[in-house]
């Protein structure tokens, strides 16, 4: 491979001799996104090669660049580099006249910064170039943007980068929900003066000082970051000088804008009619697919067959079919659907709003809605697939049900009549200790048996052929379809009602959405199942790790957070005390207290796993509610708190915060506060002592410095 690279470079340099060096337009494509938004799929295949409407993402990017007149494209690959190289070798990019696609590898790269330092070291960039992520779909007029960048640079040498943004409302579907970008730029020069991407913050702020240089500043909340940047060579040099730059957006832009030493300027270019979007996460995968099917990306639409290896044609209702698609019997293909060649769909099946790859076999009476089914997938009769991604080569046996938002990895086998909960992620990838990726943890993998129940022949599956459930928690909003919680979150944000409504709102929503079983909403079901698990654990004396795994599974299945788990676990731990000693109804508070102490310390490792800094205060309130409901526990509220504190489930800060919040609350005459006063005072005094010791430490430090 590396030899090939060298050859390419040599031929590149000979080409360069023919043209003036400044005439060559170069682009750097980042073949890796350095994140895990598409895990577990990306454990086996790089993101840039994932098919988007049956065409690999990289092809959209390369086609866009080639169509825009870029002559030399460097694809920088990190993870799965060999796959990308192989793909480029085998596709038409290998020998397309006028465009040279060159692969570069940096297997040790962990960040975009590393990759750009790699590009710098290779010394291939001559002049202004385009830096683009390998998963961008666009039909914008790049030459125009380039010209604007050059004009700006003419005016001021320090204009080293022009970022391309697309104007779209803040609720636009192709806007990744994980971003919350506010861009401040000079109204007249479009120079970016402040860049703020902090979804968690409710406010965006700008320093007043900036107004001295820029009398009028535009504040844009309606821009989508397209991840197309027109850069001058200085950008690479800057990355090389600052080895701690990791991300372009987070580090580089932030540093340039806030640095007093560097006088570099960044500018924005806002697209209005044209299309540009990055497939950033699962949600944008879904929305960009829709955009392509609805032809916003023209000329990059399936029936244009721009990769010259497909044969799509468009029929009414946005249905795209390749040649040799077999539709048997009375199967129903409804709107927004794409079907690849050699695919067969059985009688009675219903396919809607979905993309199906090549060589798939879909049985009878299968229902597929809103899903992405890649190549060589077999789906047998009566299966139901809802808003999921199913990767190449998977087999889904008859009557299986794949819940919404699921991701089925490559070559997964799902047995007969299996039901996958919503948002399941299944992969055949194995945890590999040798891999030096520290962020890839073994606990993300949990073996799951999806083989047919009655079919034991498959037991010859050896060690390397296990099916795993992927347990890494996805960030908020990174799912193919919104989780119910997402939409609640949206509502709350829009009506500003604050956090109080969160939980109750969730329950109400759940009730509404689960019309099928109106008796038991998810939250109740979850509560019951966790309770059962704990009770079983107590009776059978199961090891804590097993209980934890089980609860973790439930947590993901029902999409709950750690706080929900704790509020479900704690009552059971305490309640079983009342049931075990229910014969003597008059348990003295002392006995109860001792019992609680024992229980909590016994289960503390489990509790600690689910507790988090942010939710501790809420947890205390939950305990308070629980005590309100159970008269008996009212007296032992303080001991419970104390035990939880002793076992590191809640921190003293949380207790203080709770005490502060409850102070203004006159509802129950400060009953709980009075109860805990002694305890809190004790905590405070302890803290002061430790503070004192800290202070003395500080003094030591100071003296060291003065030396």
């Amino acid at each position: 491979m590396s030899k090939n690279d060298k050859k390419n470079k040599q031929s590149g340099s000979s080409n360069m001799d023919q043209l003036k060096s400044e005439d060559i337009l170069q682009a750097v494509v980042l073949g890796d996104s350095f994140d895990r938004k598409f895990a577990p799929i990306t454990l086996e295949k790089p993101r840039t090669l994932l098919p988007l409407v049956n065409i690999p993402l990289l092809d959209y990017t390369l086609e866009f660049l080639a169509a825009s007149g870029v002559q030399q494209i460097f694809v920088f690959c990190c993870a799965h580099a060999s796959q990308i190289k192989e793909y480029i070798q085998s596709s038409r990019w290998h020998d397309l006249p006028g465009v040279q696609v060159i692969c570069m590898t940096g297997s040790n790269c962990r960040t975009t910064g590393d990759a750009l330092r790699g590009v710098y070291d290779a010394q291939v960039i001559q002049s202004d170039f385009i830096l683009i992520s390998g998963d961008v779909v666009s039909n914008m007029n790049l030459q125009k943007a380039l010209q604007i960048h050059k004009d700006r640079r003419e005016l001021d040498k320090n204009n080293i980068m022009t970022m391309v943004y697309k104007q779209a409302s803040s609720t636009h579907r192709t806007r990744s929900k994980q971003d919350d970008t506010v861009i401040w730029c000079n109204r007249d020069t479009m120079q970016v003066v402040c860049y703020d991407n902090s979804p968690s913050k409710k406010k965006s702020s700008i320093s007043v000082e900036l107004f001295q240089k820029h009398p009028s500043i535009q504040m844009r909340y309606d821009l989508i970051d397209c991840h197309i940047d027109i850069c001058s060579p200085e950008v690479l040099a800057l990355f090389n000088d600052n080895f701690d730059f990791a991300d372009i957006r987070k580090d580089f832009i932030h540093d340039i804008l806030t640095s007093d030493l560097l006088d570099y300027k960044l500018s924005a270019y806002v697209l209005q009619g044209e299309y540009a979007a990055r497939v950033k996460d699962l949600r944008t995968y879904h929305s960009v697919s829709k955009d392509i099917i609805h032809r916003w990306t023209f000329p990059m639409v399936p029936d244009n067959n721009f990769m010259c290896n497909s044969s799509y044609s468009l029929s009414r209702q946005m249905i795209y079919k390749e040649k040799n698609v077999k539709l048997l019997g009375d199967c129903l293909i409804s709107d927004e659907t794409v079907i690849g060649t050699q695919t067969e769909i059985g009688a009675g099946s219903i396919v809607s709003h979905s993309t199906i790859g090549r060589n798939c076999i879909i049985g009878k009476n299968v229902k597929i809605n809103g899903s992405y089914i890649w190549d060589d997938v077999t789906i047998q009769d009566n299966a139901i697939i809802d808003h999921s991604i199913i990767c190449n080569g998977s087999i889904i046996k008859s009557s299986s049900i794949i819940g919404r938002g699921s991701i089925i990895g490559f070559n997964v086998y799902i047995g007969q009549s299996k039901t996958l909960e919503p948002f399941s992620k299944i992969t055949m990838a194995q945890y590999n200790e040798d891999e030096d990726d520290e962020e890839l943890l073994e606990e993300y993998f949990k073996e799951i048996n999806l083989n047919d129940d009655n079919n034991n022949n498959n037991n010859n599956n050896n060690e390397n052929n296990k099916t795993n459930r992927w347990l890494m928690e996805n960030e908020l909003y990174n799912e193919l379809v919104p989780r119910i919680n997402d939409s609640i979150h949206d509502d709350i944000e829009s009506d500003e009602s604050g956090d109080e409504g969160d939980k109750s709102g969730g329950k109400i929503k759940n009730n509404k959405n689960n019309d099928d079983n109106p008796i038991e909403p998810d939250s109740v079901k979850f509560h019951r199942e966790v309770g059962d698990t704990i009770r079983r654990g107590i009776i059978e004396k199961l090891p804590l790790e097993n209980i934890q795994l089980e609860i973790n599974g439930l947590k993901f299945a029902y999409d709950r957070d750690g706080l929900d788990c704790l509020t479900s676990i704690l009552p059971v731990l305490l309640e079983s005390s009342s049931s075990s000693s229910s014969t003597t109804d008059s348990v003295t508070p002392k006995e109860l207290q001792q019992f609680i102490a024992g229980r909590i310390s016994a289960f503390s490792p489990l509790l600690v796993k689910f507790s988090s800094e942010d939710s501790m205060v809420d947890l205390i309130f939950k305990i308070q509610d629980f005590c309100d409901e159970n008269e008996k526990f009212k007296v032992v509220f303080q001991p419970i708190l104390h035990q939880l504190y002793e076992n590191d489930v809640i921190s003293e800060e949380a207790i203080f915060e709770w005490a502060e919040e409850i102070e203004g609350d006159e509802e129950d005459d400060g009953f709980y506060l009075k109860k805990c006063k002694g305890f809190i005072d004790w905590l405070k005094s302890a803290e002061e002592e430790s503070d004192d010791s800290d202070d003395s430490d500080d003094d030591d430090d100071d003296s060291d410095e003065s030396d």
Binding site: K203, P215, Q218, E493, E496
Partner: protein, 440 residues
């Protein structure tokens, strides 16, 4: 064209003009009577109100004055002013904030809209008309008039900006506009902002593309809808009223009410939500009781709208709140190509000399104004300057780029350059003043 729906309130109190930096020249003269090209400031305001067609027979213009200055201003209006505008004075015995003043005069404001203007403003009447049209057309609750930076001032300012940033802060506002719709989203005086400007994301959702200006000048001319007065009245009834100053409290509050569903400290009165809407709904034939959107619309109507009218570059508008501005407007009016002219007749050579003045024409250069009964000695030269009434200027005096008010006596061979000489000043022979402001 007459404006019958607007009631005008001119705030001519010390405090309202307290934001000005005119010391020492306004020490002896009430702000409203400062001479500008030998005409008191207030005459310009009455002139543009008349030109803009305000109907004041039944609803006179309300001028709010302090007790100390009331006599002089009243005297001017009743004795010297000859225009058609009817004026009613409201004398303030104590120092009140602007919102409280509005509260006091609430019974006098009866029309659908009211316009509040600061006594330091001079502008062309067409802007008022455009602004009034905007206010009515868009069913605005508040419309403000903003002045874009004039390139001239910027050039001059360049050298001075660094030294005078502190002073400028008084007159600088952070103004956020949604350019497409002309809506104003935020207006914060620079004095109220310390380090960071903060924007709530909820605001950003409704106004995703706003531009924040620091170089727009608030002319302190506001048009309010009548319901705003109801809001002030309700607020004043509270134990701790929120609104004192129109600019610092009332306007930011109204602007924040443009975002729907925001928590409001003071409920907006029911009259805030478009009376016109209901009218148009009942008039419109398409509205039926079964209209599925009516509820949705009702929700939408729970917000108010505020607009900004940007002055066009070529029009004239000036807030007389700094000495620099005061000199500038004197020069501008003396040029004689504006809508406003000095009272003195214009001569061919583009200067204005009262017929009773004792002046040899060759002594006076263009763009000068010389008032009644003023005498100039022999071999004087006057360039780009304004000389008031009843002044006595001795022989061989050179006056350039200066403003000389009434009853000033200047003895022989003085040199006066870029100065302001206030009423009744006596300058001994042979003195020279450059860039000074002299009062008695």
């Amino acid at each position: 064209m007459t404006q019958t729906q607007f009631q005008v309130v001119i705030l001519a109190t010390d405090k309202a003009s307290g934001n000005s930096k005119l010391e020492p020249i306004d020490a002896t003269i009430p702000h409203s009577l400062l001479p500008i090209a030998n005409r008191p400031l207030i005459s310009y305001q009455l002139e543009f109100l008349e030109k803009a067609g305000f109907e004041t027979k039944s609803e006179p213009v309300i001028i709010v004055v302090n007790e100390t200055s009331q006599e002089k201003i009243k005297q001017y209006v009743s004795e010297i002013y000859k225009g058609k505008i009817e004026v009613e004075f409201f004398v303030l015995k104590d120092q009140l904030a602007t919102c409280e003043i509005l509260y006091r005069i609430r019974d006098k404001i009866r029309l659908e809209y009211f316009m509040v203007l600061n006594a330091n403003l001079v502008l062309e009447d067409t802007f008022i008309r455009q602004m009034a049209d905007l206010h009515r057309k868009e069913e605005s609750s508040l419309t403000v008039l903003l002045k874009p930076p004039t390139p001239k001032v910027e050039q001059k300012g360049k050298g001075a900006t660094e030294t005078s940033t502190k002073q400028d802060k008084l007159f600088t506002d952070y103004i956020a506009l949604e350019e497409k719709s002309q809506k104003i989203v935020m207006m914060e005086p620079a004095t109220e902002v310390e380090e960071d400007l903060n924007f709530n994301k909820s605001l950003l959702k409704y106004f995703p593309n706003v531009t924040i200006y620091t170089n727009l000048q608030d002319t302190q001319l506001y048009i309010f809808s009548r319901w705003v007065l109801d809001l002030i009245i309700e607020d004043q009834k509270e134990k701790y009223p929120l609104f004192f100053d129109i600019k610092k409290h009332l306007i930011p509050y109204l602007l924040s009410c443009q975002i729907p569903n925001i928590k409001r400290k003071r409920a907006l009165p029911a009259s805030a939500f478009n009376q016109n809407q209901t009218l148009s709904q009942t008039m419109s034939s398409t509205t039926s009781p079964f209209d599925q959107f009516s509820e949705l619309n009702a929700q939408k109507n729970k917000t108010i709208k505020c607009f900004a009218h940007l002055l066009k570059k070529e029009g004239y508008c000036m807030n007389v709140n700094t000495i620099k501005n005061y000199q500038q407007i004197n020069r501008d009016i003396a040029k004689g190509d504006l809508q406003y002219l000095p009272n003195e007749p214009k001569s061919e050579k583009n200067f204005f000399i009262d017929p009773t003045a004792n002046v040899t024409i060759t002594q006076v250069g263009p763009q000068c104004v010389i008032g009644t009964s003023t005498t100039l000695g022999a071999k004087c030269s006057v360039k780009f300057s304004i000389i008031g009434k009843h002044c006595k200027i001795g022989d061989g005096v050179r006056i350039e780029n200066s403003i000389i008010m009434d009853h000033v006596i200047i003895e022989d061979r003085c040199v006066i350059n870029s100065s302001i000489i206030c009423n009744d000043v006596y300058i001994k022979s042979g003195s020279s003043t450059v860039g000074q402001y002299l009062t008695k």
